[in-house]
């Protein structure tokens, strides 16, 4: 569902990015397009601890029909999926690389994603979760032709545009008089 593309409301809460950075890395249409088109999400730093935020996000994405690929050198399988030690080791194309690692680890993750693109394996979007902000790495990925989202939670954004976040009493900031898409 979600409002159809062309949503024009400004989504500004709960981010430390400036309006200019938001325009580059939190574009409403880009996020919506990504959520609609992506099928496989590699989660870098997905924890096997069932009460960690990353585990909540992974379970949610799986419920919503995405294939979640754990990237965690300390785990064999998480949520029944084989875990890979790093992005380079994933032997099949992914659509999104969702990052749950501290900002200083993001540079290397971005290097690996760019290398995958150069080898023609895939061209995934790079998604840095809430408070995981590495803007130089984001700019580098963007310059390499990748879609980049920064300082957003993929679960909350999915919930924002599909209606779930609203049911939790949250301010989605969506303003639209158009009927939701089926």
């Amino acid at each position: 569902m979600g409002s159809r593309p062309g949503l024009s409301c400004s989504v500004t809460l709960n981010t430390s990015l400036t309006p200019e950075q938001r325009a580059r890395f939190q574009d409403v249409d880009q996020i919506n397009h990504l959520l609609d088109s992506a099928k496989t999400v590699a989660m870098v730093g997905l924890s096997s601890d069932r009460q960690k935020a990353s585990f909540f996000v992974a379970g949610y994405l799986r419920d919503e029909g995405y294939r979640v690929v754990p990237v965690n050198p300390k785990a064999d399988t998480i949520l029944g999926e084989k875990a890979y030690p790093d992005v380079t080791s994933i032997p099949f194309p992914v659509d999104v690389v969702d990052i749950f690692r501290p900002p200083q680890d993001v540079d290397e993750i971005v290097n690996q994603v760019i290398a995958r693109k150069e080898k023609g394996i895939d061209s995934p979007a790079i998604w840095m979760q809430l408070r995981i902000i590495n803007l130089p790495a984001a700019e580098r990925a963007r310059a390499a032709g990748l879609t980049v989202i920064v300082d957003k939670c993929v679960k909350m954004e999915h919930g924002r545009y599909r209606g779930g976040l609203h049911f939790a009493g949250m301010n989605t900031e969506i303003i639209s008089a158009r009927k939701r898409k089926r």
Partner: protein, 438 residues
Amino acid sequence: MSDRPAPRKFGFETRMVHAGHVPDANTGARAVPIYQTTSYVFDSPDYAAQLFELKQYGNIYTRISNPTTAVFEERIASLEGATGALAVSSGMAAQFISLMTLLSPGDEVVASSHLYGGTVTQLKQTFQKLSVKVTLVDPHDFAAWERAITPKTRALYGETIGNPRGSIFDLEKFAGLAGAHKIPLFIDNTFATPYLCRPIEWGATIVLHSATKFIGGHGNAIAGVILDSGNFDFSRFPSIAAPSPSYHNLRFFDTFGHYGFLMKARAETVRDVGACVSPMNSFLLLQGLETLSLRMERHVGTARQIARYLSEHEQVAWVAYAGLPSHPDHALAQKYLPKGPGAVFSFGLKGEGAQVREDGKRFIESLHLFSHLANVGDVRSLVIHPASTTHQQLTDEELAACGVGPEMIRLSVGLENVEDLIWDLDQAFHALSRSIRA
């Protein structure tokens, strides 16, 4: 990337009628439907388990969430500039649930002494039973607040516009004080509504409302709401940050971040206390919100004219309306409430002791348009004598601290014709002077 216009931050009035409600895919219903249901069918057993573990968004039971109520919650959150909202059964429930979510036995709260009498009773008596100590401090004595804060203080608490003396809480100053001590500032914004003042913009953490008042605005539904700025770091607060035994040791602040407090309040405190709002009442509150700016403009415009009329009346000893230059908080009102400091205020009849108490009753009995009842924020004008009603449970000392004397009459100015309201007050003063002469 597309031909859409640049993202727009829509204005208050637009959000008043649209926020929180996108017409649904199946019916396209333009008005907000009333989901008068207790419960919701699960997609599958696995999905139900995910819902109960808070891993999936969705509805389980109307005690915890409801689609009509969710529209109200998002709309008021949008108007207050909050990250989210939790609607509950009354304003008193909003206070209780928000503080119960935050506090543990042994904790302390420092609160303004200029609060609604019911709030004072809840803070001083009900919370005392839970071993929470609340210290009431004059909102004009900043040094006394600094002295009252101890290492056990977990929150500061005030009302944007104090009830019933109309004092204005210095939001920015107290937000600074709360910030310096790394504790949240709770603000009851009932009398102002987000149209007149948005405390989060001045640094408040949690905003509370008795939605029964101007938000609903028509005197037909009891409800309250808790809003979170989403800007406060609760990691030092075990009540929000520590593992929760009722959710497999879920750490609400760690997992939900800026909406950890509200998730905890909804999924634990309201779940356990049960003070939920009814879907029908949420619908009535939404009807109220859709005309909030229009009503508040008229409420404050008429209140200002009535306050001026009373301040010039020879039978009136004083008028406590911060919109008048004579009020000690006039400058604060101009800073925080430039559109006007609400439509609830009190005035004192001339005279003393038992005689003025009798005059107060006689005055109220003589009114034809003002309704004598214990509420504020109705489209109709209301009147009450606090010393014998809303504040009667307070001790003499607490009454004095709240500034409630036997001569005090409180008005809630409604939307009637202003000349008719002044006519009504005028004829009641005449009745009073006739009875005094007789």
